[in-house]
C-alpha cells in the first residue's frame, strides 16, 4: 500500500520503517521518521532538525570530496592518482546536475502505476520545490540536497573497482546512466515508497541502496572491463597511504552525517545512530587489524583503515535499529568477513576489483543488511530482529539484498556493454602502461 507513504501533492519523507509498522505504531514514531501522510500534513519546520540536516548534508558531501577521492587516490600508483581523484570530483559535479534534473524526482515522487519500482517526473528540474516546501520537519530543499550527496557518493564508490583502466568519457556516461537507471530506482524501492519499503526491508542509511548497490556494480564492472595490465605480476602497491588514511578519516567523520543524518531529525534516533556508527567502525578496524596480525604477521595501516570503512559500511543499514551491543558484534563480524573477502575471496575468484569496492562495500553491505535483521531491537527502531525472536526479519533482509543485487548486476552489465560497443570502455594498452594522468588529463604529479 504505497499510498501510506506518499502524499501525491506534497513532500515525501525518507522512510526507514516498513508499512506495517507505521500503520501499527503511534504518532511519536511517525514524527521521528518524517511520518506518514497524516502526520506530514501537520508538520511544521523544526529549527533543530533543519540545523542538523544542513550539517549532515555538508558532512556527506565531504565523504566524497575529498574523503573518497583521497582514500582511493592514495591507493593507486603515482601515474594514476590525478585520474582517480578526478573521478570522485567529476562524479560530485555530474550527479549534482543529474539529481536536480531527474534523479530526485525518480527516487522520491509517486510513480503512479509503476510506483513499486520507480518514481515519476513530477519534480523534474525540482519543479514545485519552494522556500516553504517541507519534508517532514525540514525544508524539502535540505532533504533534496541531503539525498543528492548520497547520489554522489554511491556512483563514486564504484570507481574503485575499475580504477587505473577506464576511459574518462566512458566513465562519465556510465556514472550518469547508472545513477538514473540503477541508483534512483533502488532508492525509490527502499526510501521512496517502492516495493522493498512495503516488504519491510530495514535499511536505515543505505546498506542496500548505497553499499550493496555500488559493490555489486563494482564487481560486475571489474569483470566486464577486465584485469589491469600486469595484474598479479607488476607491483601495484599504493603510492601514498597517508592520503588514504586522511581519506578514510574524512569518510569516518562524514559518516556521522550519513547515518545520524538519516534519522532526518535531531533526536534520540540520530544520537543512537551516531553512537553505534562509532562503535562499529572501531570494532571492525580492530578486528581487521588483529586478523591481519595473525594471518600476515603485521598489523598494517591499510588494514586498519580498510577495517574502519568496512565497519562503517556494515553499520549503515543497522544504525537506526540496533543497540551498542549489536553494533559491536556487527563491527567485529564485518571486519573479519571483509578482510577475508579482499585477501581470500578475491584471489580465489580472480576478478580485479582494484580498490575493493566489492570486497568492502558489497560484502560489508551484505553482512550489514543481514545482521540488521539479526540484531534489530524493538526498543531502538521499533522492529525486532532474530535475537528478539523475529527470524522472519532476516528473510526479509535477504529478499531486499537479492532484489538489489539482481537489478544492480543486470542493469550495470547492460550499461557497460552498450558503452563498450559504442565509445569503448577501456583505455589503450600503452595509455594504461604510461598512466592515465598524463594521457587522459594532460597533467602529472610532480615531486
Amino acid at each position: 500500500m504505497t499510498t501510506k507513504f506518499i502524499k501525491p501533492a506534497g513532500p515525501i519523507a525518507r522512510m526507514h520503517r516498513p508499512a506495517w509498522l507505521i500503520a501499527a505504531t503511534t504518532t511519536a514514531l511517525a514524527v521521528m521518521a518524517g511520518g506518514p501522510a497524516s502526520a506530514a500534513e501537520d508538520a511544521t519546520l523544526s529549527a533543530g532538525d533543519t540545523a542538523w540536516m544542513l550539517t549532515s548534508t555538508a558532512l556527506v558531501l565531504m565523504m566524497t570530496i575529498p574523503g573518497l577521492a583521497l582514500f582511493y587516490g592514495g591507493m593507486v600508483r603515482r601515474k594514476n592518482v590525478l585520474a582517480t581523484v578526478m573521478q570522485s570530483f567529476a562524479a560530485a559535479c555530474l550527479m549534482t546536475v543529474l539529481w536536480m534534473i531527474a534523479g530526485y524526482s525518480l527516487a522520491f515522487t509517486d510513480g503512479g502505476a509503476a510506483n513499486a519500482f520507480v518514481g515519476g517526473l513530477s519534480k523534474a528540474f525540482l519543479a514545485g520545490i519552494t522556500k516553504g516546501s517541507l519534508t517532514g520537519t525540514i525544508p524539502e530543499s535540505v532533504f533534496m540536497t541531503f539525498q543528492m550527496t548520497f547520489a554522489i557518493i554511491t556512483p563514486a564508490l564504484i570507481c574503485g573497482a575499475f580504477a587505473d583502466r577506464m576511459k574518462f568519457s566512458a566513465l562519465l556516461w556510465f556514472l550518469a546512466a547508472w545513477m538514473l537507471v540503477v541508483y534512483a530506482p533502488i532508492t525509490h524501492w527502499v526510501w521512496g515508497g517502492g516495493f522493498l519499503a512495503d516488504a519491510g526491508v530495514l535499511d536505515f542509511a543505505g546498506g542496500t541502496v548505497v553499499h550493496i548497490n555500488s559493490g555489486i556494480a563494482g564487481v560486475v564492472a571489474a569483470m566486464v572491463i577486465g584485469k589491469r595490465h600486469g595484474y598479479g605480476t607488476e607491483n601495484m602497491a599504493p603510492h601514498n597511504l597517508v592520503l588514504s588514511v586522511i581519506g578514510a578519516a574524512l569518510l569516518w567523520v562524514g559518516w556521522f552525517g550519513f547515518n545520524a543524518g538519516s534519522a532526518v531529525a535531531a533526536d534520540g534516533a540520530a544520537g543512537m545512530a551516531m553512537a553505534v556508527t562509532q562503535i562499529a567502525a572501531a570494532a571492525a578496524a580492530l578486528a581487521w587489524m588483529f586478523a591481519e596480525w595473525v594471518v600476515i604477521k603485521k598489523p598494517s595501516v591499510l588494514g586498519i583503515i580498510s577495517g574502519a570503512v568496512a565497519g562503517l559500511v556494515a553499520i549503515t543499514p543497522a544504525s537506526g535499529f540496533v543497540d551498542p551491543m549489536g553494533a559491536l558484534l556487527i563491527g567485529l563480524i564485518a571486519g573479519l568477513v571483509c578482510f577475508w573477502a579482499v585477501a581470500g575471496l578475491k584471489k580465489a575468484l580472480g576478478y580485479d576489483d582494484a580498490l575493493d569496492a566489492f570486497g568492502i562495500h558489497g560484502i560489508g553491505g551484505i553482512v550489514g543488511a543481514v545482521l540488521t535483521g539479526v540484531f534489530a531491537v524493538e526498543a531502538i527502531g521499533g522492529t525486532s530482529g532474530l535475537i528478539e525472536g523475529n527470524a522472519g526479519q532476516v528473510m526479509t533482509q535477504i529478499g531486499g539484498i537479492g532484489a538489489t543485487i539482481a537489478w544492480s548486476a543486470v542493469a550495470t552489465f547492460v550499461i557497460l556493454k552498450v558503452i563498450d560497443l559504442t565509445i569503448g570502455l577501456r583505455v589503450a594498452k600503452d595509455v594504461e602502461i604510461e598512466g592515465l594522468d598524463i594521457n587522459l588529463h594532460g597533467e602529472t604529479m610532480h615531486n
Partner: protein
C-alpha cells in the same frame, strides 16, 4: 685523486658525514637511489596482495679526496656505515684525473 662511490643505508648518512669530517673530508655529493645486491629487496603485503620490491632505497655518496687519505676514507666510511646486517651497501674506488674549483680556477688537490 680518488673518487669513492659509496652506496649506503639512508639512515647511516649522518654517521658517515660526521666520521668523514673528522678526517678532514668536508665535501660530498649525495643522491637518493634504488638498488639491490645480495639482499634482493623485500616483500610488501597490501590487503593480502604480495609485492616483491627488489629495489630498495639507498643513498649514493660521491667523494673525491687526495690519494694520500683515500685508504683511510674507505675505512672510515666502512666503519661508520656498518650495521652488520645484510644490505649495508658497497664502496667503489676509482681514479680521478682532474678537478677544478669553478669559482677560483684552482686545480688538483687544491680544488677539493
Amino acid at each position: 685523486m680518488k673518487m669513492l662511490i659509496a652506496v649506503i643505508k639512508p639512515h647511516k648518512l649522518d654517521d658517515v658525514q660526521a666520521a668523514l669530517a673528522d678526517i678532514g673530508i668536508s665535501g660530498m655529493t649525495v643522491s637518493e637511489v634504488k638498488g639491490h645486491g645480495r639482499q634482493k629487496g623485500h616483500t610488501e603485503i597490501y590487503r593480502g596482495a604480495e609485492y616483491q620490491v627488489s629495489f630498495l632505497p639507498k643513498l649514493k655518496l660521491e667523494i673525491v679526496c687526495p690519494d694520500a687519505i683515500a685508504g683511510t676514507a674507505v675505512e672510515t666510511i666502512q666503519s661508520a656505515a656498518r650495521t652488520d646486517q645484510i644490505g649495508d651497501g658497497k664502496i667503489f674506488v676509482t681514479d680521478i684525473t682532474e678537478a677544478v674549483r669553478i669559482r677560483t680556477g684552482e686545480t688538483g688537490d687544491a680544488a677539493l
